[in-house]
Symmetry: C2
Subunit: 403 residues, 2 copies
Amino acid sequence: MAKAPKANAVVGQSGGPTGVINASLVGVIEEARKHPEIEHLYGAVHAVAGMVKDDFVDLGKLPADTLEVVAASPSSAIATSRDKPDRDYCAKILEVFKKRNIRYFFYIGGNDSANTAHILNTMADEMNFDICSFHIPKTVDNDLLITDHCPGFGTAAKFEACALMGDDLDNRALPGVKIDVIMGRHAGFLTASSVLGRQRDDDGPHLVYVPERPISMDKFLGDVQGVLKKLGRCVVAVSEGICDADGVTWAKKLAEQAEVDAHGNIQLSGTGALADFLAGEVKSKLDVKRVRADTFGYLQRSFAGIQSAVDVDEARRCGREAVKLAMEHDNGSVAIRRTGNGANYAVELFRTELKNVAEKTKSMPDEFINAQGNGITDAFVEYAMPLVGELPRTEYLGNYPRV
Amino acid sequence: MAKAPKANAVVGQSGGPTGVINASLVGVIEEARKHPEIEHLYGAVHAVAGMVKDDFVDLGKLPADTLEVVAASPSSAIATSRDKPDRDYCAKILEVFKKRNIRYFFYIGGNDSANTAHILNTMADEMNFDICSFHIPKTVDNDLLITDHCPGFGTAAKFEACALMGDDLDNRALPGVKIDVIMGRHAGFLTASSVLGRQRDDDGPHLVYVPERPISMDKFLGDVQGVLKKLGRCVVAVSEGICDADGVTWAKKLAEQAEVDAHGNIQLSGTGALADFLAGEVKSKLDVKRVRADTFGYLQRSFAGIQSAVDVDEARRCGREAVKLAMEHDNGSVAIRRTGNGANYAVELFRTELKNVAEKTKSMPDEFINAQGNGITDAFVEYAMPLVGELPRTEYLGNYPRV
C-alpha cells in the first residue's frame, strides 16, 4: 500500500502464553489509539480460531487502569490457539477481514505466527485486498531468528533463576540428587537460565543439559557421580528436549517404551515421565540415598506476579512499534537489537521481513555451552542477566567456619 | 530451673525447609543478643544430626545486613535433617550439650521437632542437667495444633495462589482439563490456598480435593465432566495425599517402589506419578482433547523471592518470643493467637506445652470444605487471606462482550 488506509485493525495472541504477551497486546492497543488511520481495534478471541469464526472483542475503549492490569497479567488476555492455518483457513480469515474492513493485522507469537502473518499478507496481495500484516515476537523459548532475544524469555528465565536458587538451597539443607526438568524442546535458553541465580562457587545447578548437546545415560550418570563425590550433593537442570547420543530425544524413547508397557496403570508419556525416569536411573545405578525430581511444567510460563521489568517494557515497546511500522510498511516482524550490555544495557527495535522469522528456529550459540556439554558459560550469563533484572540475594550459613 | 542460667544456646532447623524458617532463625539470633544469660549462640548444622556430631557454626557475630539476607532467603540456612531421634540419640546430644555448657535449646520445626524438644527436656531433667527447651513452629502444611496458623504456611499459600492464578488464565487461553497436584499429606490447607487468587466468578480452580475428604474415581470424573459441560474447561487442584473412597491414598496405590523416610512417610513430592495417573484417567474416560497435569513439587516450599510479608514478620516474632520465654520458663512451644481478622488482622504470641504440639497433627476444619467435598468455602478464604497478603490483580478480556 502506498499510504496507510483508514480501516479497522485486528490483534491476536498465538501459541503458548507467556508472562508478557499481554504487555505486547497493550502496546498495540495504546499505539493504535494515536493513529486515526485505525478506526476500530478488534481482539481476535482465540487468535486465528476467532478470526475465522468472526469472534472479536472491542479493544478500543478499555480504560487506562484496566490496560495496566492487562499488561501485568500472565497468559493471553484474549486467549490463544494452536491452529496452524493453511491457505483454505487463511482464505476464510480474509473473507472476515473484508467483511469488517480489517486492513491491519497484528499477530503476537512465535515463528508459526510470523508464518501465518506472511501467508495472510501474500494471499491478500493475490486477492488485491491489501493488508498490513505485522508479527510481534513472543516466546518463552527465545528461539526466534534475527531478534537479539524474544519478549517472554526474560520473565520465564527469571522464574527458572528463582526456582533454582531456592531449589539449590533446599538441596543444601537436605542433600542428595535433585533433577529439574525445564521447558525447551529444541533450544536450551530457558534451561540455561537456571544458572542465573548462582551466588556462591558451589551453588547449583551443578550440571545443565540442553537439547543442543546429545548426552548418553553413561555420561549423565558419570557427571552426577563426579559432582556427588566433590560436593556430596548434586542439582541438575535438564531440558525437556534433551537427546540421547543417537540424537533421539529421551522423551520420545520413553513414550515408545510406554507403548510396549501398555498393560501398566501409570502412563509413561505423562508430563512427569522424563524427570521420574532420570531420578530412577540415578537411584538404581548410583550410591545415593536421596533422589528427587521435579518437572516445572506450565508454571514456567504463567506464574503470576513474577514479571521481569525489562521484559515487560520491551514487550510493550514491540507492540507499539508494530503499529508505528504499519503506518509506513506493508508487513514485517519487529525485532530487537542490543545496543549496550551490562550496566549500559539498551536496545533499539527494527523491522525485519516476515520470511526471515517464519518457520525458523534459533538454537543456543556454541559459546553459551561449555566444552563438556554439561554446563553453561559466562557468555550466556552476560547475555541473559540484563533481560531478567535484579534477583533476590540469598545467604547460606551451613558452610561457615565451625566452632 | 528457678532462674535463667548464664550458659550457651543452640538453635536448629528441622524437617522440610520453608520460605520463612530463616526468619525464625534470625528472630532467635537477634533476641539472644539482648540477653546476657546467653553467652554463645550455636547453630546446629543439619539439626539434630549436627548436635549429635558436635557440628556447629557461631551465630553470635553475624552482621545486621547478613541477618536481613538470611531472613529473606528460602530453605534452611543452617541445613536440616529428617532424623527422628530416639532416647539413645538424645542421650548423645545431651552429652554434647554438657560438654559445651548448652542450656538453651531452640528448635524450629513441625510436630516431630516439638517431640524432640520434649524428649530432650525430659531426659535432661532425669539427668539433673536442666535445659530450657523451646519449639518454634514451622510447616508449609499448617498442620500444628494449638496455634491459629503456622509460620511457613502463608508464604507457601501465596505460591499456590499465584500459581493457580496464572494456571487458570493459561487454561482459559488454551482450554481443556488441567490438574495440579499440591503438597499436603494429611492436611488440605495448602491445596485449599489454590483458591485464594480467584477474582472472577468462573476463575479456577473449579474443583479442589483435600486429604480430609476421600474421593472415588467415579466421583472425580463426574465432577470434572460437570465443570467441562458448564465452562468448556476445568482446572483441578488436588492434594498429594488424597484418598480413594476406601481411605487409602491414591499415591500409595500407585507407588510400586514407594520410598519411605525415617518418619514412615511415603515420598509423595518429587514424583509426577499421581498427576500423570489422574490426567490419564480423564483423557481415557472423558470426551476432552486437551488434558495436562503438573506436580508443583519442591518449588512450593523453596521458590526464591515470594515471601508473604505477614508470614516473615510472624516467623521472626516467633523466633524472638521463644528466646524471651526461655528467660522465664523451662520449656514450651510458641503459638499464635489471632486477635483480629480481615482489615483488622492482628495476632499475639503465647506459650503452650510441648506435649500439646508434639506428634499431633491438625486437619482442615469441616467449615473450610464444601458439602460436596470438592471445593473450599469462604470461611477458609477469610482465614487464609491475611496470612498471604496482597496478591497480583489480573485481567482477562476473552469474556468481554463481542462486537
